[in-house]
């Protein structure tokens, strides 16, 4: 039972391992050069999957600030900075949640389900606020004193990293295909053992 729970909690990691191993097997064992390259793509994609799943947070959305948060920031800059301390105040937090829920309803249709969640899990958000007060990162450097909850958004960093990894994957695949084409031009085949056979029998 525990095992199954563990499996369920981390099923994404299981999935990526399985996919990755399929890719790795193809890279190592397949004879056809194109199949190897396909394996390579599968392999790299599995790693991307892994990374992206690191960044996932329950009930968080894509790492782009809401329209109101952006505008709220301008407000905060122009107006008072005094509400920083007020975060400890629970009522204030509740207001914030209510405000947030409305934004969801109005501006971001995409996040309809998100808003739902927020409504019946209000205390979760409070916890989160308290927590990030303790870790006091939200306020240390912010001149604007933005009202941003880190748990509201997914981790942007892994997305950036994977954008890079995707680009690298594409580039490698391209070069791999080019080499395969050159080999095909020289040997007339893309089966590795046939190429090796040709090399062994001479005519260098």
């Amino acid at each position: 039972m525990v095992a199954i729970e563990a499996l369920a909690d981390k099923f994404n990691y299981w999935v990526y391992i399985v996919i990755m191993m399929i890719g790795l097997y193809a890279m190592v064992s397949k004879n056809n050069l194109i199949k190897k390259l396909i394996g390579m793509s599968v392999f790299q994609t599995a790693i991307i999957l892994f990374y992206v799943s690191i960044g996932y947070k329950d009930e968080a959305t894509i790492p782009i600030l809401y329209h109101d948060q952006v505008h709220g920031a301008h407000h905060a800059e122009e107006g008072d900075h005094s509400d920083e301390g007020a975060h400890h105040d629970e009522t204030h937090a509740m207001e914030a949640i209510a405000k947030e829920a409305t934004h969801h309803g109005n501006d971001h249709a995409v996040d309809a389900d998100h808003a739902e969640v927020d409504e019946h899990e209000a205390d979760h958000v409070i916890d989160a606020h308290v927590m990030h007060n303790e870790s006091d990162h939200a306020f240390e450097a912010g001149h604007g004193g933005l009202d941003i909850d880190p748990n509201q958004f997914e981790n942007p960093l892994v997305h950036v990293l994977m954008l890079t990894a995707i680009v690298v994957g594409v580039a490698t695949l391209g070069v791999g295909l080019a080499i395969t084409q050159k080999l095909y031009g020289e040997f007339g085949t893309i089966e590795e053992h046939e190429i090796i056979e040709q090399l062994r029998t001479g005519n260098d």
Partner: protein, 505 residues
């Protein structure tokens, strides 16, 4: 401007690469001078950096002005300042050599070749100076992609080998990436120093994830550096690629990977973790011993000059991996010193192989037939490199062996000492076989011949662009041998805080 030197190290070759690629189509002749100029500038930048490091200690350069861990930093201490100088210098010398060979060996793709060459140099320099684990991956891939292409420009065999390299290299780099991901998942950071701090702060010594991260990163790098059982891609690709390509890749790519391994072990995981908590014991040293012996035996079996040399690289990689895992300060010093000296030694012999190939068009070791008469200056350069690989004082190779053997004895790894000695002897056999052929000719005459007066064979030396790098390399080998004390002082300053001397194991 000196505080900007770290970034200039790679900006010069990198921006020039783009420029060469663009300009090449119109003015191909400009490619070579631009390449040389930019690499020369890069050497100056590395030297400036080195001097600064020696004066003020570790340099931390925040790219984009963002303090780590939020931004990427270039972190340069004694270790990578030295390696950066080495990389820039080797690239510079290799580039000089390329001049007369590129057109004939790469089917008139000079500009592309130089652009890729510079990008490779920039990638390797970037790997060396960065302080960010993920940034290292990106640069690793730049270096890898350019390597694949530089090799695939060679003949048929090289193309296939390049493909193999591509597959293996991708596996290696992906393993590294995965390892970095594992570290990220447990520490939340990508900055090398910060990862180390987080590992300690969060008490992650026993985490199986971190252990696997270490294994993945190490194995990934082993693939990239062609550590023995994972070496299959190397011999053919370096042996059959264009001589110009292999004269930069053979000295640098494997060495830089070893640098990365040292960096990972010391800076990211920390010696206490890598050697004490994990304690793979002697396994790695034994693997290194096997690598050394396998490389040496493989080299003995070769008739092809460059292929023989590639097997020597495999043996040398064994030296360094073993040296790192001796867990001894002298051994580590030796391994790091060997990164530098081996880069130049390998460059020297590969340049020689290239010159011989250029002159005779033959690949096997009999191509050197009678070269003492025909190309005496070339042979002098070669002999210095060969002596260094054998380990004859006062060349650099002797001193790296000196430190490595000391490390082996200190830590009681006699098997490593013996392997090192055997490999020196094998190198002696290999190189004296070549020297013999060059001296006696392919089939020496029976009985005495008394040539009257001097010989009729005309001296026909290699062109100056090939001689300069060869002799330059030879001179450097001697210099870093004679001045090894100063070099080692820098290395030991770097190693001091890691407290390896306590004999962790």
């Amino acid at each position: 401007m000196t505080e900007q030197a770290p970034i200039l190290i790679l900006l010069f070759p990198f921006l020039t690469a783009i420029f060469v690629a663009l300009l090449g189509a119109k003015v191909p002749a400009a490619s070579w001078p631009l390449t040389i100029a930019s690499l020369g500038a890069s050497i100056c930048a590395t030297l400036t950096t080195l001097i600064q490091v020696l004066e003020n200690g570790t340099i931390r350069y925040y790219v984009g002005g963002w303090a780590p861990p939020f931004g990427i930093e270039l972190r340069i201490d004694g270790l990578n300042a030295l390696v950066a100088v080495t990389v820039a210098t080797v690239a510079f010398l290799g580039a000089i050599y390329s001049k007369d060979r590129v057109e004939s060996e790469t089917e008139n793709k000079g500009p592309q070749y130089y652009a890729l060459y510079l990008l490779l140099a920039a990638g390797l320099l970037g790997i060396v100076i960065t302080g960010d684990a993920f940034n290292l991956y990106v640069l690793l891939e730049i270096a890898a992609l350019t390597s694949y292409a530089l090799l695939a420009m060679g003949n048929k065999r090289a193309t296939l080998a390049a493909f193999k390299y591509l597959i293996m290299g991708t596996i290696g780099a992906s393993f590294y990436l995965l390892g970095v991901g594992y570290l990220y998942i447990k520490t939340g950071s990508l900055n090398m120093v910060d990862i180390q701090e987080q590992l300690i702060a969060n008490g992650l010594q026993d985490s199986s994830t971190v252990q696997v991260a270490f294994i993945m990163i190490t194995v990934g790098l082993w693939v990239k550096m062609a550590f023995f059982p994972l070496h299959a891609w190397l011999p053919n690709s370096y042996a059959f690629g264009p001589t110009t390509s292999s004269s930069i890749m053979a000295p640098l790519v494997t060495k830089v990977m070893i640098y990365v391994m040292v960096r990972m072990v010391l800076t990211v995981f920390g010696p206490v973790y890598a050697f004490e908590v994990l304690d793979w014991g002697n396994i790695v040293v034994w693997l290194a011993v096997i690598a050394i012996l396998a490389g040496s035996i493989g080299a003995l079996a070769q008739k092809d000059l460059r292929k023989m040399l590639t097997f020597l690289i495999i043996a040398e990689v064994g030296y360094m991996v073993g040296g790192v895992w001796l867990v001894d300060e002298t051994g580590m010093t030796g391994a790091i010193y060997h990164i530098i000296s081996d880069a130049f030694m390998t460059l020297c012999v590969f340049l020689f192989a290239g010159i011989v190939f250029a002159k005779t068009g033959a690949r096997d070791i009999y191509a050197v037939d009678g070269l003492f008469k025909k190309m005496p200056i070339t042979m002098i350069g070669f002999i210095v490199g060969a002596f260094s690989l054998i380990g004859i004082p006062p060349t650099a190779g002797f001193f790296s062996k000196w430190y490595l053997i000391q490390g082996g004895i200190n830590s009681g790894n006699w098997e490593y000492v013996i392997a090192l000695l055997i490999s020196s002897l094998v190198n002696a056999v290999l190189f004296f076989r070549i020297i013999e052929i060059a001296y006696f000719g392919k089939k020496p005459a029976e009985g005495h011949i008394h040539h009257h007066g001097d010989d009729h064979t005309k001296i026909s030396e290699a062109p100056i662009t090939q001689l300069i790098p060869l002799l330059g390399t030879a001179a450097i080998i001697l210099l870093i041998g004679i001045f090894n004390k100063d070099l080692v002082a820098v290395i030991q300053d770097f190693l001091e805080p890691f407290n390896l001397v306590a004999g962790i194991r």
